[in-house]
Amino acid sequence: MVLRRLKPPVSLTIAVLFAAIVASLHLMSSATQDSSRLGQLYSSLLLINSLGSLLLLGLVGANIYWLLKQLKRKVAGSRCTARMVFLFILLSLAPASIVFYYSMQFLQQSIDSWFDVRIDRAMEDALQLGQAAMDEQMRTVLRQTEQAAERLENVPDSMLGITLSELYDTPQDADFTVFSKQGRILAASGADSIVPDLPNEGILLQLRHGRSHVGLEPAAEADQGLRIRAVAVVNARDESYFLQTLYPVPRRLAELADTVESAFVHYKELNYLRNSLKASFSLTLSLILLLSLLAAIWSAFASIRRIVAPVRRLVQGTRAVAEGDYEKRLPVKSKDELGFLVESFNAMTAKLARARDEAHNSRQEVERQRAYLETLLGNLSSGVLSFDSRLKLQTANHASGVILHADLPNRINTPLAKLAELYPHLADALALVGERGMRDKPWQEEITLDGPEGRQHLLSHGTPLLNGDRGWHGAVVVFDDVTELIRAQRSAAWGEVAQRLAHEIKNPLTPIQLSAERLRHKLAGALGDPEAQVLDRSTRTIVQQVEAMKTMVNAFAEYAKPARMQLQPVQLSTLIEEVVTLYPPKSGVRFELQLSDGLPAISADPVKLRQVLHNLIKNAQEATAEGEGVIQLLTRMVPDRYHCWIELLVRDNGPGVPPEQVERVFEPYVTTKTKGTGLGLAIVKKIIEEHGGTIRHDAGYRDGAGFIIRLPLPDAVATSETVING
């Protein structure tokens, strides 16, 4: 990681590295080939190059480890890098190995070819020849020395020097020394007699045993060639001593011998070092190969990483784009084809981002429109249904469910036929919609259906959905529940009629009554008894009937009169109990009360509610047989989607409402009974509606007539009150 962070320019690093390696290898190669000044640096160079190899090996190892780790993590571009590195190593390793193999072969063979048995032999012979020549010289010198030693016998010590000079009167380069057994010099003569060179301990030991010594040795000064040392024992009278002759080998002979000797030594050394030489050459060659290869591989890693970098970035970029990040921009670092590719990628992602933004915006717009439409549909009092080309339900707003008493909003994608099965009361209506819906033209129709709350009238409009090429692929049906509207129209009409009637009928009634009374008053005395009785009876009948008619007209006027409400909080259960106590058991009905505890108070006019209860009880009382009437009164709280309602159920055990009258049971003068004004239920309905509530026939109750009254809880009442007052 640290290595990657330290990033000098790669090309510079590679150049410097190669220069260093080549310089070092060149030095080492030169050092291997000749033993000049560079030879002293050989070991250091070897060590430096070995360390360099180790360093490179570490670098290459780190790179390989890094690559393997990346491969394992499936990092982008790692496989490409691995393949290229492998290829590069293969390409560089193959020729290098071949060259290396043949170089080694050549090296081994050429070194071996330096050595030949005949040359070996010749060298040995030359040396022996030299030794033979030297032996001859040595024998001569030894003989001379021994002869001189014989002549020195019995010469007194003081005469030794003179005798020695006499013996060797001919000027020679030789040195003569006479010394005692203890190494004391007794006499010396010759060219270099200042510090006579005495033999070493080994020779002295030999001499002490009485044996002469002769030997060849290099001269004291290196350039003086060889000399022969001959030592003989001088047997003196009282003590024997030694005579030493140091005789320089003739210059020419010495030179030749030296040449032969050094050549022989050199050859022998070479022969001995043959394997070491091979090994060191091989070592140098191997090191060169290894260093070059490692440097090449490391450089390959560095360059391949540089080459692959844009590809890796591209892959990362592509991944980012695949994951939805269109903001990804890659740096353009080169002007080549890869740079062009990266530029194109950037252009592509920019376009993608733009397209994505546009799509996002339009999706948001669509979503907004959809939400708007949904809100619109949801708050629409009209029911809206839409079907696709296979007549599967696609849209159903809340109102459609409420109107049709079916959970249609949760039946999206249900076919029409299946809906008909699920909701049998809708079967006819849905069949009609299906049939009409297939048309290519808009349609309008009033549909009647028998819902759970009685007959409903729906005013329906259908519009076909056409696609681009005007082909039919669905339909929209919008319908309104006009049941209430029709009822209200009917009520309003009745109100109008009632007021007219009241007005028109009530006006002549008083003159009629007054006229009748006047008639009786005037004629009562003038007529005879039987006529007077007839008159009295007739006028009384007229007055009575007029009174009755007045009562009826007043009731009618009451029904038609606009509402005047005195609202106050009312506990419905308490009110019911109060009303029920007014009907003692002897009145012929029995009450069964199921009143929920803790119902909240409603805002209502208690007087009017009492009238509602009286009307309903009276209605039931009249419908049931004398003495067997049972009236059930139930209250409960019913939560709705928007409001909470207090529900009051009034049920009797009478014959019930005939089916043909169910629809019009709340209209005035719709009654099956002989008694009553025929306005009871009409007034009940009017009062309930004035309170913002609803009343309907309980179609589910089969044991008699049942009515369901719903009264809103205060917040809802407040709303309806403003409506009524407004």
Partner: protein
């Protein structure tokens, strides 16, 4: 040859020094004697050469040995101070024509020849009164630590032999340090 192995071998070489003690020289005795403004080193060295070294010598490869003397002063809270670090080099070679083993010293004296290697080594082992220039350095009356060792100078071997000499224990011809203290 693998350079990694070379590096490894160099480490082996140091570790192998002690193991190769049987064929290595040993310093039996050493002493320093003051002589005026200098010291004289006398020592007894038992030279033992490995077969490889002997064979190389007989095949004309000269061997260079170094005698290294170090004199140091003890310091209580610091490393010892090295006062003197002297080396004497001498070369051994075989003269084929004369069939002699030669002992060549640095001081320009004539090489000394010996008929056998053993004679040469014995002679060479007796170090007599080698001069140590100590006048300006050592203070009389003070105690000093001296140590002496002999080693083969591999760098002066022929070039092809050096890697082998560095790696092979047979070529480790150094003695362990011989230490003694003396009062000047």
């Amino acid at each position: 040859m693998n350079p990694a192995r070379a590096g490894f071998g160099a480490m082996l070489l140091l570790a192998g020094a002690a193991c190769a003690a049987t064929d290595a020289p040993r310093i039996v005795r050493a002493e320093l004697v003051r002589d005026g403004d200098r010291h004289l080193l006398s020592a007894e060295v038992e030279y033992r050469f490995s077969e490889a070294a002997t064979e190389a010598l007989q095949n004309g490869v000269p061997l260079t040995l170094q005698l290294n003397l170090q004199i140091s002063r003890e310091r209580r809270y610091w490393w010892d101070e090295t006062m003197v670090d002297t080396r004497w080099s001498f070369r051994l070679r075989y003269h084929s024509l004369a069939k002699l083993y030669q002992w060549v010293e640095d001081d320009g004296r004539a090489p000394r020849g010996f008929a056998s290697l053993a004679a040469l080594l014995e002679e060479m082992g007796a170090v007599r009164r080698l001069e140590v220039p100590t006048a300006a350095v050592l203070i009389p009356g003070q105690t000093y630590q001296a140590r002496l060792a002999v080693s083969l100078d591999i760098e002066s071997l022929p070039l092809p032999l050096r890697p082998v000499a560095y790696l092979s224990p047979a070529w480790y011809l150094g003695s362990p340090w011989f230490q003694w203290s003396f009062v000047d």
